[in-house]
Amino acid sequence: MPTVNQDQKIQSSTPNNQYRKPSTRVILAENLRKFWYKFSRNKLSVIGLVVVLLVILAAILAPWVTPYPQHASAYVDFDNASQAPSSRFLMGTDIFGRDILTRIVFAFQGALWMAFLVLIISVPIGVLLGLIAGYYKNTWIDTLIMRITDIFLAIPPLILALAIASVLTPNLTNAMIAVTVMWWPWYTRLVYGMASSLRNEYFVIAAELTGASKAHILFREILPNCLSPVFTKMALDVGWVILIGASLSFVGLGEQPPTPALGQMVSDGARYMPDLWWYTVFPALAIIVVILGFNLTGDGLRDMLEQR
Amino acid sequence: MDTLLDIQDLHVWYRVYGGYLKVLNGVNFTVNKGERVGLVGEAGCGKTTTMKTILRILPDQVSKIAQGQIWFKGQDILKMSGGALQNVRSRGIAMIFQDPTSALNPVFSVGEQLSDVIRYSLDSRTSRRKKGQTIKQVAMQALKEVSMPDQERIMGTYPIQLSGGMRQRVCISMAITTSRELLIADEPGTSLDVTIQDQILRLLHELVKQHNTSIILITHSLGVAREMTDRIYVMYAGTMVETARASELFANPLHPYTLGLLASVPKLTGGGIARGIPGRLPDYLNPPAGCRFSPRCTRSMPVCELSPPPFFDVGNEHKVGCYLFQGNGHE
């Protein structure tokens, strides 16, 4: 039942709804163009973005773009073992005869998949906790959430991940669980700072004064203003997660052979240095390049934000 | 009347997504020795851009001085380099910014900031430093001139400990430590209460009188311009539309924009206010080819859309940039 308590003289001057909602495609295209204009000012970030896109594409299309997809699983060919880089095997072969280039690309799959899962789980949890703690700043809710966060933050990430991963059976899933468990607090802290200051903005107060529910205020008023730094951090974090994943697989706590993993390949090859140098160097370079790519992209995003 | 500053046909553009924002479109502006000139305009009209161009503090990457000259004591500031420019900035022209809070560095004390200014502008000819006076003494004297009580204590305080009015005074004292020929005050006291603003404006008036400094007073308040300046320029969308002596401008406003502004100002006598000026600022990316006010002007004529009107002299040092006054003062 509409409740109108005043005699409102209404005269609509557009009786035929002459306004039109701009189509979503047009808006999207325009926003992408503006994004690109700002982002491309920094040449390094563009390089980073290119690297990132190449890596992701390669990982998705691995079975079709790699020269020897079958080498990514149990395979032996001792005739071609320990070959130096050549035109047949661009990055050489390992002691089982498997093409290192192919294995690196397949290892990207595991690394990216892990980064994706870790972030997709830990970020929403961290952000949610940060929102709530920030909104209820200076109450027991805030204290409870933030002290727990502090405890997790006080423990060095790699050590915690190692501890968890070694207690559980060593495999990719458990490595991911380990990393996820210690990843969310960073987002909580990030969002907490923003949410607690946004909480006092007049537009939040205006929503409260008009009777909006707490859920509305948290998710529709405050959250959208916190997202940009969160996305930037996510881009930078992909690099970190990959690094930690590589560290875990370096000590054998990640993907198990024969599935390739970057850290594991570095570790396997280490004992053959310096003779079979390609066995370690290429996987290590791959790690560096991927992380650098994500870092440069993340830096570019952050610079864009600060300009505004 | 000695001309101190003469801006001629200044065009300044900003580079943005989509092209150039052609903000200043032929600005002509003069300041004589010992004169108080008011620059009145609303947000986005280009007053701050003009002032920043004088001191050459526009953001490098995105700004472009497309055309024009700024003559200061016989030299074109826009063509100056390094040493000469630095000379102008440290001894010739000083700017007092609008917001005293962000103009002062929060992590240095007032004394430190004042001393820095004095140190970097030292010159035996133009500085106020008499033989044997230390930097600290010069600083305290500057604070005294802006009527700061308790100068010794203030030297050690940090900006955050001071009220808005006092911060503004500190900014002013920084500008007068060396004898300057021109002060540019960007909306002084706007963010402060009206009684404090009154004090600040009086202070500037006193200082200007005492040291025979010229001052450009930027404001969006016609009332302030009327009381505090000798001559006024009215600016709209990157052009000067009218200029006259203060008393003349209010007795005899001519440009449609000036008339619109005056009608929109609430009067103490009551009686309601006009409905404002219809329309909005032009899009600087694609500004109109002719008079930039014509889209909003109730008396616009076909000629207004062809090319920007020049300043027509209507006598009594009163000039109007409007085709209505073509033919020397008659419509």
């Binding site: 537009f203 008009t210 008023e221 | 404090i196 004090q199 016609l222 009327r226 009381e227 505090m228 409905r275």
Partner: protein
Amino acid sequence: MNDILQIKNLKKYFIVGKKKEGPIYLRAVDNVNLEIREVETFGLVGESGSGKSTIAYTVMGMYKPTAGEMLFKGENIAMDISKRPHHLKKELQIVFQDPGSSLNPRRSIRQILELPLRLHNVVPANQIEDKIVELLEKVELPPDYMYKSTPSIGGGEKQMVAIARALAASPSFIVLDEPTSALDVSVQAKIINKLLDLQQELNLTYLFITHDLSLMRNMASRVAIMYLGRICELATAKEFFEEPLHPYTRMLLSSIPTVSVEEDLMKPKKVISTGEIPSPVDIPPGCSFHSRCPEKESRCLKDDPEMVEVKPGHWVRCHQFAYQLSAGEQPVPSLEMR
């Protein structure tokens, strides 16, 4: 004409520190009495630290009063927003000073206007879009603005959106806290006239706050001036501006810049204000204004003057006017309820 809002002995103190003797209070609002009549514009004037915004925020429920009563259409509203019944959140609306921060930059105008419509069931769900168009037209904004978000529009237009938002829930009372202070004069003119039109059309009551006295002259029917949490003078606009009595009122009026000779003649003789505004934490004893008052006497340093009705409807808090009462008449200690 009924009173829509009655405020009695309102106090709002903030605790800003602790001393051995007890907490240090910032007396933002200190014993204020006023009533606002239906469909009038009541003006509240003062400098920073005067308490005018605090009163507005307390009326809206952003703060809980420290003491005192507030009645809205007879209903008690002396509580903060979390305890207020839902219908009050519809009846009382506020337009803040800075439209940049009072509108969420990440929400479209449509979303901003939809919220109050939805929360108060102003129209059924399928008519919401039409209602939004109607609101935009009321504030002279084109309908396709509803798909825009606020960073892309100008300050004056943003404030129009804020006004449309206030109108959305069909309120009867709107607080306007310096709604045009951040805007240019020509934009201000448009908005003020629109506000006056809307008041006529929709029978709205306004509590209008500003530091700009010339603007107040053209807006309010009655004006109260505040200093350090107290009302110094309250009168009809005509008397307030043509026959100001309190020294503070006269000081403010004398220092405003004016643009015409007629206005110059109206202003009281120039009073140079010396010194700074004292902070509301450290209010001197006696009359709170004495440190800046050009007309102070010895009793001003000791005794706090009371609010006196010098003429019908014209109240002043100043020792000079306590003498105006003829012998035998009792000074009125606080604003009498009509």
